[in-house]
Each structure stands twice: as structure tokens, then as C-alpha cells.
Amino acid sequence: MPKITIDDIPIEVPEGTTILQAARMIGGDIVPPAMCYYSKLKTSGGYCRTCIVKVEQGSEKDPRPMPKPVASCRTNVMDGMVVRNITSQENLEARAGVVEFLLMNHPLDCPVCDQAGECHLQDLSYEHGKEGTRNEFERREYEPMDFGDTIKLNMNRCILCYRCVKVADQLTDGRCHGVINRGEHAEISTYIEKAIDNDFSGNMIDVCPVGALTDRTFRFKSRVWYTNPVDAHRDCDKCCGKVRLWNQGDEVLRVTARKDQFGEVIDNEDGSTAWICNDCRFEKKHLNDWVIEGPSDISRHSVISANHYESLRSIQKTTMKMMGAKPHGVKFELGDGALDPNNQ
């Protein structure tokens, strides 16, 4: 089994593990953020570049460093690999650059966005972004679009992670939406605004890391942090029927799949992924429909979980301790001093 070290922490992992998975096994601050990678979806990852890490030593046999930062979600570990994530200022700068690119055309309409509070882009920008933007040009804009009665697409918020495309490819028959146009104009769309109509289309909402795909039945009903998440189940002939209900009083405002700390849908006992069908998600909006198991254990870090920003502070502490440097995310020293006013 390959032995690797990530930020000076050694771990032994099975052959074929990616750097990101290895980091998740260690857990804590050193896990690179992942916006497009989704372990339950094949061939996902590699697009957003937020999970980039620096490989200081390729392997035991070939100790040369990798010339470029690598996408940890798609790079397999090799025996003797030395990876630096939060202990490399260079890497944190590179990631801040990626976050800046992701936010460049983002409308930052969190106050009216249903995803706010459980949005990965929000978390990412708090943890790795900068306070302001250097982009002075107009942001690109799209008209919101309805994918049928239940799914709303707000393309302005999309970061083109391709997760929803992979869900449609791998969970449902006959994908009828995808990425159209190219480059900066690329957008998620259906063929001439066709409705997406199949039993598992709702999972697109669950995998979307931002507020681009939202639940129309939950739209503008409540902020997520005013709802109480409880785990519940029912007998469903289409899916596993294990869901999370987001309640306010006796009212079920929203039904989603159960997710783990990385925002990914959890596995069933038999190893399959606990995707849920559209009946469970959109039709069963009464407490009578469900057997309540108890309050959900929200372990993922987001404002809906308690003490989220406690852990944020600990990231900075770790960085500072390990590097003896300034807390990252507060003031970067750009490699070439480009933005330092004293260095004109």
C-alpha cells in the first residue's frame, strides 16, 4: 500500500486512491475543497481546479516534484508522494486565484438565493477567497430558466461543475440537458428549454454545489437555517426512501437526500448511493408520509451547522502554526508583488 504524506501528515492508503480521498481519510483542515468532484459520480472532478495541491515529490522511485499544481481529485497517489496543501503559501495563493475566477461572474445574490447557508461556493469564498473583487467589468447574465415544474435553473450562479450532467448521464435514461456554447458563454441548458422529466432528475439539485439548480417547490419559502432538518424514511418502490426533511413546525418545506460532511449523498448499507426519487422529493410534503427517525446530524461545515466558524478559525491557526506566516485569506503576499502598493 502506498505511503504518502499530506502537509507532513503520513498516511497509508490503498492503491488507486486519489490525493483528495487520502486527504479526506486524514480529515480536518488539510482536506482540499472540491466544487466539482463528487465521489458518487464517475468521471466527475478536474474542472473547477479548487482542489489543486502541490506535489513536492512525485514518488519514491521518481522523486522529482510535479511541475504544475495538480487536481487532487483526479490524481492517484504514488508510494512516497509528498503533497502540500495548506502548508504551501504558493498553493493557497493559486487556490485564491481559482476562487477569484469562480466568483468573477457570480452575481453574489446570496440574500435572495435559496442555496445560501448550505452553499459550497459561500464556504469556499469565506475560507479561501479575498474580500473584494478586482474585476471591474460587467458580469455575464442569463435569464433564469425552468426545467419543468420542480427544478429552477439560475445560470448566473452556475460554476459549470458538470455534476448535474453526470447525474443525468449516470442515474437516468436519456439525458436531455447539457452544456451548450463554448468558453465563457458555456451554459447548462436543455434542448430548447425542454422540461427534464424523469424519476431521478431531482438529484441534480442535490449535487449542485451552488444555487444554480434549486427546488421550485421550496423556492423563497424559508432560509435553510430557519428549518429543522430531521432524518426520515418511507417505503418507496423507486428509491431507498431515506431522506432528510427540512421542517418548519409541522410543515415539510423541502425533502433532500441525506448528505455527509463533504456535501455528498451518503451510501446505503449495501454500498449503493442513497439517491432519492422525485416522488419522495417533490410529492411527499406531509409529515404523515414519513417515519421520522430523529434530528439530522449535520456534520458538514456550513452556517446551518453549529460552530462552523470555529473550525474556520482553526484552519487559520493550523496554517499559522505550521508556516509561521500570516493567516491566509487575510493578506496574501503575491509572488511578484504585483498588488503591493509599496512595490510599484
Binding site: 472532478g45 478536474g46 481546479r49 487536481a71 459549470l160 452544456v179 463554448r182 510599484q344
Partner: protein
């Protein structure tokens, strides 16, 4: 007179037909090789020749071929990359237009060496008329028994197809090309796996440039060792250079690698000097993606040695003072050229051609283009120049495919070598009023 291997017969009228091509020694190499050489022997010759990929990266072809996985019962493919879209590069078009049979012969030879029974030529959409020329040549080859079943009685079968792309620059990247060839959206794949293991339809695939495949014919004709004697050091053989810009004689030239750059630009045999007796300002030596170099650095390295047309010599000094041979798109600019405007044109191109898959390239290049547009408009600030530098450093090396780098390098090099010109645009916008004409491509 320099050595010519690929273009030695291009002046003969009718060389695009099979009859004339055969009269001038065409298909003799193939006939001989199919009957007397084993596939491994051909790969060995190519290895000995030291031939390096002519598409831009300069990876040794023999090594690439030997990486090809050969699992039992799985077909292997050879794909010829004729999606020549790099601005400033037009050598492959010339070759295919003039001597299509040379490419066809090279394809058959290479397919035989690699054990491929189906091969494709992926040609860019704008070259539709070249595709017709190739199709005609392939038809002639089928009729003459050089393609199809049991070629020349040797038992080797090969079907060769021409596939026309839809004119996307990104489809010149080998994995995007394979996606496009499979009928999908032309997005680069994430490597590994490399095409040599899982390429077209998940099978082992070799993707080579047109010129590389054509060069296999003279290599087998003369032998790998003889070929390796041509050129200089690890840059063996001859290279087609597409010379363009402010020179007296633009065109496609076949040079022996190792020719001094100064001789190439000023000799009557090649470019014939700068147009109108002006002075040279800068050269982009290998297609728009490689760093631009000012006159003093393109003619001589920092050590004072004359720069040669070879992979090593042009690369001398890294990106601080050197550049790359790239695809051989040699763009010469005279003293009246605006580097900023030229850079804007390049950035506009990359912005338009980015596939939009990974975020730094999708968002960053458009941003750079808009900043350059602002500077050109006379609305820029000195901080914008630093911002440009910072953006390019955030794109370079962070993307899936080399398109991000191709867009970042020209920006970095232009600022590195021509910063005062950028500053002039900012501090004295009046001085540029008369050269403010440029085209704005709408989306």
C-alpha cells in the same frame, strides 16, 4: 540550397495525383517497407531518427509510438491531427494541399508500424477543400490497392478516413480531438489515462501531427541513422516553417533544423528581409502561443550565441529570455507594429476558443482580453498591467489542457519584454489615437 525531404517535389505540376506522385518515386518506400520490414523495425527506425513531434510540443515520436499499449483483441488506432488552428501556422495545409499522397503514404506506413487497421485524419472545418483533396487521394490509393483489404498482398488491412471538424481550436488538443472524433463535445479529457493507453473509443491510440506522419516516409527511405545526421543535436531532420508577417517573402519553407534565425529572416532564399526596409521589432517563433521575443533576443541568446532554428536553441534561456520552436508558425513584426494590439488580438482568439471546461481558462482569458481592450482604448491604468501579469500567473499551469498556458504565455512575454509600450498606452493615450483601429469580434 538546403536539404528538402518533404517538399522536394512540391513544384511538380500534378503531384497531387497518384500517377505523377508514383512517377516521382511515390509509394516505393511503402511497397518496400510492407514487403521487407517488420512493424517493429519501422518503429525502431523512427526511434533512431530522433524525429520529434512537429505539432508543437516536440515529443520524440519513436518514444510515443513505443508507449502504445498492445493488449490482445483490442483494436489500435492511429489518428492524424490535421486540425492546424494555431494562428500563424499553415504548413500542414500546404503539405496536404500540394502532396496529399505523402500524408496518405505516411499514414499507411505508420499504421502498419503501429498495427492499426483503422486510421483517421481529423482535419479542421475551415480546411473543407483540403479534405476534398485528401478524399480524392485516398480514393486513388484504394483503387491502386494501397488501402483496403490485403494491401499489396501482404495481408495487412487498413481503412483510412477523413473526418472534418467544426473549426474549433481546442480540437487540436489531442484528447479533445478524440472526443470530437467520437462525436462528442470537443472538451479535453483529464489525463491520465493517456491516449496511448485509452484513446479513441477507449482503445490505445497514437495521435500525430501531419508533418510528423509525412516525415516517416523519408525516414524509412533513407534509414533512421541517416535522418538523424540532418539537423543539429537532438533537433534532427527538417522542419516546415510557416513564415508570415512583415517579411518580403512569406510562405512555407522547409529548413534543416539548426539554421541560424538571422539567416532565415534576412537571406534571399528564405524570408528575404523585412518589408519596406524597416527594422524588425519582434518575432513570435512558433505560433501565437509561444512567448514573443524582441529582436535582440531572437537573433542572439543572452550568452551572445547566435540563435538557431532548433528546439534547444530557441528554448535557450527558458521563458525569461527564450521561446519555443512550437509548431513553426514564424511571425515577424516590424518596428511599426503595436505589441499591445497584437496581444489583444491573440487574447481575443484564446477567449473565443476556450472550451469553458475549467475555471481559470474560462474566466481568466476573457478578463485579460477586456483589460487589454481597456488599455488599448486609452482607459487603462498602470495597475492594470500588474493585474494582467497576476491573472496570467493564476492561469498558467492551473488548467486541464495547454490552452490556458497558450493564452497566458504571450501575455507574460509581452509584458516582460515590452512593458514600456504598455505603459505608453496608459500614460500617453493621445499618442496611440491614429492606431486605434481594431476589430471587435462579437461573441
Amino acid at each position: 540550397m538546403s536539404k528538402k525531404l518533404l517538399l522536394k517535389n512540391d513544384h511538380i505540376p500534378g503531384i497531387n495525383t497518384l500517377a505523377t506522385y508514383k512517377e516521382n518515386g511515390g509509394y516505393a518506400v511503402l511497397t518496400n517497407a510492407l514487403k521487407n520490414l517488420s512493424p517493429d523495425a519501422i518503429v525502431e527506425e523512427v526511434k533512431k531518427s530522433g524525429l520529434r513531434g512537429r505539432g508543437g510540443a516536440g515529443f520524440p515520436t519513436g518514444m510515443k509510438w513505443s508507449f502504445l499499449a498492445k493488449p490482445e483483441g483490442v483494436p489500435r488506432y492511429l489518428v492524424c491531427n490535421a486540425d492546424e488552428s494555431e494562428p500563424g501556422t499553415f504548413k500542414d495545409r500546404y503539405l496536404m494541399e500540394r502532396i496529399p499522397h505523402l500524408l496518405v503514404e505516411g499514414m499507411i506506413l505508420s499504421s502498419f508500424a503501429l498495427g492499426a487497421n483503422t486510421s483517421y485524419i481529423y482535419i479542421r472545418g475551415e480546411y473543407f477543400y483540403v479534405a476534398n483533396i485528401l478524399e480524392k487521394a485516398i480514393d486513388e490509393a484504394y483503387q491502386a490497392g494501397y488501402l483496403g483489404k490485403n494491401i499489396l498482398g501482404t495481408g495487412f488491412n487498413l481503412d483510412l478516413y477523413v473526418q472534418v471538424g467544426a473549426g474549433a481550436y481546442i480540437c487540436g488538443e489531442e484528447t479533445a480531438l478524440l472526443e470530437s472524433l467520437e462525436g462528442k463535445r470537443g472538451n479535453p479529457r483529464i489525463k491520465p489515462p493517456f491516449p496511448a493507453v485509452a484513446g479513441l473509443y477507449g482503445c490505445p491510440t497514437v495521435v500525430n501531427n501531419v508533418e510528423t506522419i509525412a516525415a516517416v516516409v523519408p525516414i524509412i527511405e533513407m534509414g533512421g541513422e541517416e535522418y538523424a545526421k540532418i539537423g543539429i543535436g537532438k533537433s534532427t531532420g527538417t522542419k516546415l516553417i510557416s513564415a508570415s508577417g512583415h517579411i518580403n517573402k512569406p510562405g512555407v519553407y522547409e529548413i534543416e533544423l539548426g539554421l541560424p534565425v538571422e539567416e532565415f529572416i534576412y537571406s534571399e532564399e528564405w524570408c528575404g528581409g523585412i518589408r519596406g526596409g524597416r527594422k524588425m521589432k519582434a518575432v513570435v517563433a512558433g505560433g501565437s502561443s509561444v512567448p514573443i521575443l524582441p529582436t535582440e533576443l531572437i537573433l542572439k541568446t543572452v550568452n551572445g550565441e547566435p540563435r538557431l532554428m532548433s528546439y534547444e536553441s530557441l528554448g535557450d534561456g527558458g521563458f525569461i529570455s527564450g521561446t519555443m520552436l512550437g509548431s513553426g508558425g514564424f511571425i515577424v513584426m516590424d518596428e511599426e507594429t503595436s505589441i499591445v494590439k497584437n496581444l489583444y488580438t491573440f487574447s481575443r482568439f484564446y477567449h473565443h476558443e476556450s472550451c469553458g471546461q475549467c475555471s481559470p481558462c474560462r474566466e481568466g482569458i476573457g478578463w485579460m482580453e477586456r483589460i487589454l481592450e481597456k488599455i488599448l482604448d486609452g482607459r487603462g491604468t498602470l495597475a492594470d498591467i500588474d493585474l494582467l501579469w497576476d491573472i496570467q500567473s493564476k492561469i498558467e499551469g492551473k488548467t486541464i489542457c495547454p490552452l490556458g498556458e497558450a493564452a497566458a504565455w504571450p501575455v507574460a512575454a509581452a509584458i516582460r519584454h515590452f512593458r514600456p509600450e504598455f505603459e505608453a498606452y496608459v500614460t500617453n493615450p493621445d499618442s496611440i489615437k491614429d492606431i486605434k483601429h481594431y476589430y471587435r469580434l462579437k461573441n
